[in-house]
Amino acid sequence: MQFDQILQYVLSGLSTGAIYALIGIGFSIIYNATGIINFAQGEFVMLGGLLTLSCLELLKLPLWAAIPCAIAVSTVVGILFERLAIRPLKQPTPINLVIITIGGSILIRGLAMLVWGKDTHAIPPFSGDTPIAIGGATILPQHLWILAITLIIILINKVYFYHTISGKAMRACSYNRRAAGLVGIDVRRMVLFSFIISSAMGAVAGIIVAPLTMIAYDVGVMLGLKGFCAAIIGGMSSGVSTVIGGLILGVLESLGAGLISSGYKDAIAFIILLLILFIRPQGLFGKADSERV
């Protein structure tokens, strides 16, 4: 009985964790290419979910067409954000960047409120909602979708970053922007690319989580912060360690909510965030040589 319950918490924690991982990787990709923590990252998650809703209901598109459509529009927002807010900044000090990405996130959230209102919306699950029994626990088909899509995206990322010229160029930027520029890499284009990839990934996260948790204009804040927490646990890597970070966070949160108190569920993530930042700012798996403090 007790074991079944814990299994249940772990399973549902894994799928929320996968979402955090996707958002966290989005943070890391932009951070590594530009040194910016994009506080607006969570808003793309919200946009992904809500745009899918509009494609389904307003444009009457089938789900398989609505999803790429929503991702495309979110990506355009990401491009606009980079072009209009980040690139023209005359003094890109960390504090100015924090303030401008916060401003951007508030603006995007406000506009979303104008468009979709304050209500919470639901998206139908991708393939029904008949629970599947695993051991003594049950999961929904949507949980499997989340895990599978996350896995696919991580694989695509891996291929992109290690086996394509533009991915390799992006990694070069993350090691040393000036040196990358010197060997002929267009650093500004890579910055734009990083925004494109992370806004698309954020949108995907929003789309796959929306059938499970509902979506509203203001979900981006919390999801974004949790994603950041995942990235911090993973040491701002855009690979496996952030995924593990997200999964750890998701499972701990789900266990904490189930076994301790659901009211403190959100606090768990932030306590972990603070502890990691205080004790191991290089992440759980990183070496202590990085200059992140």
Binding site: I99, I100, G103, Y264, L274
Partner: protein, 318 residues
């Protein structure tokens, strides 16, 4: 120095005369909020504008002050005049302890950590129901009394709040012109250089963080005793962002700028009554536009703009 004194005297005379110039309880009530927000903006500005350390969790310290004052005076029937300094000391102490590890972080990481701290405090307000009343809030907080006068009307509260606000302004102006103020600016420009010149940057940052928390706590206590009711909704993440907006709009590192930012952002929603829910779009837009086109804030941006127009105008005439 003389100019500063003159400016401050002029400003405080204006503040003290305001109730004679404007009548109406509602406006007084709004001006009370301008005072409280000015204190908060100055507190954040000392940290962000002078020491260059961002905090996205200042609403938490504001809330702690308000709740500590509220709980001490209602549940433990303490005198408000005792509760206020007690709250301030406790908050200052807490900020000092958390300050050491948190201020080791820089830039984005500091922003995220303080944000997390603010949200944790907010969750605690919501969840410790038997202590704080939870989401429905804490009511019946007594007004402050002094020499037989109970501060229970808007005009009386105006004088009370602005008395404190002016004191905080004077203190901060003095601080920024002192050795500590110069040391803070040195830390802002380059922590390494400051340390080479013998400034204990780490300790100084923690001290200013604690001071900033104490001022916020004081503002929180005053808020609790003038409103006689507090609820967690006033101390969330959005309010931390609003404070940040005030400081950035007014001008980083300018005390009068903080007043300007606080006044603007407190009065703005009053003019935008119809657009109630949409004020966050305006905040977001303002933040972005200010950072992009007027990074010095209104306090420096407006004179610069004025000069530009005048100079251009003259050039056009010639």
């Amino acid at each position: 120095m003389k100019k500063d004194l003159l400016l401050f005297t002029g400003f405080s005379t204006l503040v003290m005369l305001a109730p004679q110039l404007f009548s109406g309880g509602y406006l007084m009530n709004v001006l009370v909020f301008v005072g409280i927000n000015t204190m908060l903006a100055i507190a954040l500005n000392l940290l962000l504008g002078y020491a260059g350390q961002i905090s996205l969790g200042h609403a938490g310290f504001f809330g702690l002050g308000a709740y500590l004052s509220g709980i001490l005076t209602t549940t433990y029937s303490l005198n408000p005049w005792v509760a206020m300094p007690t709250a301030a000391i406790v908050v200052g102490f807490l900020a000092g302890i958390i300050g050491f590890p948190i201020l080791k972080l820089k830039g984005h990481y500091l922003a995220m950590a303080t944000l997390g701290l603010g949200i944790i405090i907010f969750i605690v307000f919501n969840e410790t129901v038997e202590l704080t009343g939870g989401p429905s809030g804490l009511s019946g907080i007594p007004n402050l009394k002094l020499a037989g006068i109970s501060f229970d009307s808007d005009v009386k509260n105006y004088y009370l709040i602005w008395g404190f606000t002016l004191a905080v302004m004077l203190f901060s102006l003095n601080l920024s012109n002192s050795r500590i103020g110069r040391a803070l600016r040195a830390v802002h420009d380059s922590e390494v250089a400051a340390q080479v010149l013998g400034v204990n940057a780490r300790l100084l940052k923690v001290q200013i963080f604690a001071l900033s928390a104490v001022i916020s706590s004081l503002a929180g206590s005053l808020y609790a005793h003038t409103m006689t009711f507090v609820s967690p909704a006033s101390f969330g993440f959005n309010f931390s962002i609003e404070l940040l907006t005030m400081v950035v709009i007014g001008g980083l590192g300018s005390i009068y700028g903080s007043f300007l930012g606080a006044a603007l952002l407190t009065l703005l929603p009053e003019f935008l009554r119809g657009a109630n829910d949409y004020d966050i779009i305006i905040y977001g837009g303002l933040l972005m536009v200010m950072v992009m086109y007027m990074p010095g804030g209104l306090v420096r941006g407006i004179p610069a703009l004025f000069r530009k127009i005048v100079v251009k105008g003259k050039a056009g005439n010639a």
